[in-house]
């Protein structure tokens, strides 16, 4: 098992290195000069521009710049924001907790609702319960996250006045954005869990379990659900990615001070060092999460052999 984890970690190193190259090149692919963006159009004189360029290392050969970027990144130094000259990492660290809270809350809602709906749907296969649940899930899959968010604000904030429309720090402000993200995630999961549950329910060992005289509860929970959830684990990593992408939008709508909102703000104000740092950190985190999901998958399913 440890060897498997080690191998997977090694295998992801080239991917991460290529990601760093891409992210590094980003700063050089953008139209315009980072030094000019940093100075702003009105304040740049040729001398000042040359000095800032030298400070940022932009006058050195490309490969040298890359190596120093990579070296810095390994030590946690992602450069300074073109917007306010603060270290990129400090800014990201300050904005990380709201996003983690949001994604964890949303994933919890998504898994509980999604698995529940999927299982009930499969157990009531071809009844009105199944049809209704799947119609709702399809509706959820077809709903853009920003419209879902606005609907929730309209209902729970404008009409009922139960929760704030702006995401303040407390638990109150977390409810609506987490619900918006969680509902969408649960729609995808419900459709998956249902089809994998239906597949398991048709297996021979289900008939065996029933023939043994096991109680229906045991049959469903111990024999069916446990097996049906295994393929679901594989999509959890993907779900996490969807949630991070969704967080960009929900955080913007609910004015939540997380990294999703920081990302959009940075793109709009051309703060490319910040965009670089955020992109790199999110990509590396996502690679690690997918690795963890694969390991969990291998651990849960004894049929999978780790090489």
């Amino acid at each position: 098992m440890l060897r498997y984890i080690g191998n997977r970690l090694l295998a992801s190193i080239p991917t991460v290195l290529l990601v760093t190259i891409l992210v590094f090149l980003m700063l050089h692919l953008i139209p315009g000069d980072p030094a000019e963006i940093f100075l702003g159009e009105n304040f740049s004189t040729p001398e000042l521009l040359a000095k800032v360029r030298a400070d940022m290392g932009l006058d050195r050969p490309l490969h040298e710049q890359y190596l120093s970027y990579l070296g810095g990144a390994l030590r946690g130094d992602f450069g300074r924001s073109l917007n306010n000259n603060r270290p990129v990492l400090d800014e990201i660290a300050a904005r990380l907790p709201p996003t983690i809270e949001l994604t964890v809350a949303a994933l919890t809602i998504g898994v509980v609702l999604g698995v529940g709906l999927g299982v009930v749907s499969a157990l009531c296969h071809n009844t009105w319960v199944d049809t209704l649940a799947m119609a709702l899930a399809l509706l959820g899959v077809s709903m853009p996250i920003f419209w879902m968010s606005l609907l929730l604000i309209f209902l729970f904030s404008v009409r009922l006045n139960w929760f704030p429309a702006l995401s303040t720090d407390g638990l109150q402000g977390l409810v609506l954005p987490a619900l918006a993200l969680g509902l969408l995630s649960s729609s995808t999961l419900a459709r998956m869990v249902r089809s994998s549950m239906l597949e398991v329910l048709g297996q021979d060992y289900m008939r065996t379990a029933r023939a043994k005289g096991l109680r229906e509860r045991t049959v469903v929970l111990r024999h069916a659900l446990k097996n049906a959830l295994i393929p679901t684990i594989t999509v959890l990593g993907l779900q996490f990615g969807q949630l991070l992408g969704g967080a960009v939008i929900t955080e913007t709508i609910f004015a939540r001070q997380g990294i999703g909102r920081l990302y959009v703000e940075s793109i709009l104000r051309k703060d490319f060092t910040m965009v670089q740092g955020l992109t790199l950190l999110i990509a590396v985190a996502y690679v690690l999460i997918n690795l963890a999901v694969d390991v969990a998958y291998a651990a849960v399913d004894p049929r999978i052999q780790y090489e």
């Binding site: 080239p14 991917t15 991460v16 290529l18 990601v19 891409l22 980003m26 692919l29 953008i30 139209p31 399809l138 509706l139 899959v141 077809s142 709903m143 853009p144 996250i145 920003f146 419209w147 606005l150 609907l151 604000i153 309209f154 404008v158 429309a165 998956m192 089809s195 597949e199 996490f240 990615g241 969807q242 949630l243 991070l244 992408g245 969704g246 960009v248 939008i249 913007t252 709508i253 990302y263 959009v264 793109i267 709009l268 490319f272 965009v275 992109t279 999110i282 990509a283 590396v284 996502y286 690679v287």
Partner: protein
Amino acid sequence: MSNPALHQQSAGPAAPAQPARQRSLWLDSLRRMARNPGAILGLVLLVLMIAAALLAPQITRYDPAEIVPRDRLQAPNAAHWFGTDAFGRDIYTRVVYGARISLLVGVVAVAIATLLGVTLGLLAGYFGGLTDALIMRGVDVMLAFPGILLALVIVAVLGPDLLNAMVAVGISSAPTYARVTRSAVLQTKTNLYIEAATVAGVPTWQIVLRHLLPNILGPIVVVTTLGVAGAIISGASLSFLGLGAKPPTPEWGLMLSEGRSFLRQAWWITTFPGLAIMLTVLAINLLGDGLRDALDPRMQK
């Protein structure tokens, strides 16, 4: 659906022994789909949307960008079926014109994704070895950017506007197409007829395009259809964030973003474009699910 139909005609004269069987395979699928009420509903909705997009000037009375200050923030009424926005623009007109933009975004983005992804998937799957390793490594790198993030990165580099948003959505969804195509190729290329063609000395490009591609069209048609739905949502999301269409373009995501601050006074500004996106995406998802079930009853996602 036009793809497979076109293919029949082009392959018919070239391979006289095959067309009868092939045609019936696609016909069978069509028949299966015609029995699926969801797919039919999706098709009807989608045709309505396309018709509305094409006939926009004929079925609306106003200019989608015309500002009429004295008509601002009117609730839905006989003159303005869906009400008006903060600039007095007719929302019904803007929603109808918006169908043009969203459908275009979906089609263009998916065309880019298909061209890129299917080509790479064909190359990787057919040639294997180093080609495969290199291409799939590239795909892995692209997949390291979760969800809409890759599109955001591309828009950040290209600069925010509608065309760049289409390109960004297209490129960022290409990896999925590459993966689906590659695994379909791997399954298909071991078939005897491919071996026979190779032995007979048929040029490689002909084997890939005339023998391999037609036989893996099923899964590609399915991901492409469902992909249009995803691309419409992604495109609208970018515009919503201010990274796509610019005002006064009647783009649905942008309209929702503009109506955000009027949620309390004027629910209709966000409701109608929101419904429009949802119905369009729902229609395409219904159609895509139907196609998937019809083309391969065993294939489940």
